[in-house]
Amino acid sequence: MEKYRIDPSKGLEFGLYTLGDHIPNPLTGERISAEQRIHEIIELAKLAEQAGIDFISVGESHQEYFTTQAHSVVLAAIAQATEKIKLASSSTIISTSDPVRVYEDFATIDLISRGRAEIIAGRASRVGLFDLLGYNLRDYEELYEEKFELLVKINKEKVVNWSGEFRAPLKNAEVIPRPQNGSMPIWRAVGGPPASAIKAGYAGVPMFLATLGGPASSFSYSIEAYREAARQSGFDPSELPVSTAGFFYVAETTQQAQKEYYPFINEGMKVTNGRGYPKQQFAQGADKRDVMNIGSPQQIIEKILYQHEVFGHQRYIGQMDFGGVPFDKLMKNIELIGTEILPAIKKYTATN
């Protein structure tokens, strides 16, 4: 775990993530400028740090209604604006990028932030960027596997010799600058089904699991499959951190939290994904056994502790800014996280 800069004795890490979506507020129909949205993300990171939140990450998405395509640039700004909070991508679409350039960028962010940067590498849930960036969608899986492997190799080896199908070979290549400690945490981003989790296990790399909604027990299959696959490939699962990511919203009462966040999730899903979020499933999300962390502070504390029991994970990150949630609501969320949720989670999960 130390290699991944995680100390489990300090308890479950709590973080926030944004996909950098840029969606009109459904209640007013108005959309803030891209400039304002980016500044609010940087401001959010500063507030999160002040509240004691461990981690913040920014996603890369090239489709309409998003604004952090150059997510590493935004992360560099956050690195400069903060001092303690860990920084990462959520995720970097490694399939359509050059791993050398990605590594150079994030190693630089690691140096700017003095050792706080991490990469979470995914393969895109939407595929418009394949056309935009000049890749063939038919190579979807091969691109991801090859480039992810190269990224991990660059992280491990100072001098890289490599050849593959989708990039010019590297001969005695030194990819510099190096991160502060010579290497940095690189996670594999995984969607719901176990098939994808198993591949992270085979590679022996830490796993970020997206869990939007549904019972925690369903997602625990993926985590178990990941650990088993790692074990079979000769890795020690107890050395491999797992993180989960999903919707988060806190208000005074669970009813209020649902009422406030639902229109943003529903309308946001409609414009970005083509389908709203079914009310019935959202309503079930309040149940302690559901992974959706939307509710009162007490309800969320119970949910996160329950998830910790089921998953045995090292980090949870929440998405609370989806769909154009106004900044004052995000500030209120951060306040409740800092004053009520974090202290309880740390108290019950820290071992020292």
Partner: protein, 188 residues
């Protein structure tokens, strides 16, 4: 209420002929409804390559978006080789999982032989169920002999189309009421 009539084949004229009757009946009996007829013979749509439907351009983008925006879809299909045509199956493949959640879907089938009567029951309904539609259980099955020069010449078929249209609109209205009442209970 947005209704889409989907004529699911590029071959022949019977399904389209029958769908014309469906659209006509709808506009006569329910003039307030907003009806769009999509005849797949008039569109050039590639096979699904797995992308989100919002990412398709041209005809595929138009057809999928129109269907996703509909409250009601009335599917017309012929039977080829004892199955639904590939053109129709492709439309389902282009749409996301659960694409028909909270939509009412009903069916009309044309066929050259009465032996094909259960094809819709055994092959079409399972797909529509998987995609989470509220299904109108009875469908209209029309044979070759019921058509002459692109018209339906069997009054019984016309009566059955009238009942299909009525059942579809009634189910939509009923389901909307039930759903509204249920969602009001959630309080958000």
């Amino acid at each position: 209420m947005k209704i889409v009539g989907l004529s699911g084949s590029k071959v022949g004229s019977k399904t389209r002929t029958a769908m014309n009757y469906v659209v006509q009946t709808l506009s006569e009996k329910y003039p307030d409804t907003d009806v769009t007829l999509i005849d797949l013979a008039e569109y050039d749509i590639p096979f699904s390559d797995g992308r989100n439907y919002l990412e398709y351009e041209g005809d595929a983008g138009y057809v999928t978006k129109t269907m996703m925006e509909a409250d009601v879809i009335i599917i017309g299909t012929p039977v080829f080789q004892a199955s639904i045509p590939a053109t129709l199956k492709n439309i389902f493949d282009l749409l996301p999982e659960q694409a028909f959640l909270n939509k009412v879907v009903s069916m009309l089938v044309t066929a050259g032989s009465p032996k094909h009567y259960l094809i819709a029951e055994q092959q079409l309904k399972p797909i529509i169920t998987y995609m989470k539609a509220q299904i109108v259980q009875s469908y209209v099955f029309i044979e070759e002999k019921d058509f002459y020069l692109k018209e339906i010449i069997n009054d019984d078929v016309l009566f059955r189309i009238g009942r299909l249209v009525e059942d579809t609109v009634v189910l939509k209205n009923t389901f909307s009421e039930i759903r509204k009442a249920k969602e009001a209970e959630y309080g958000f």
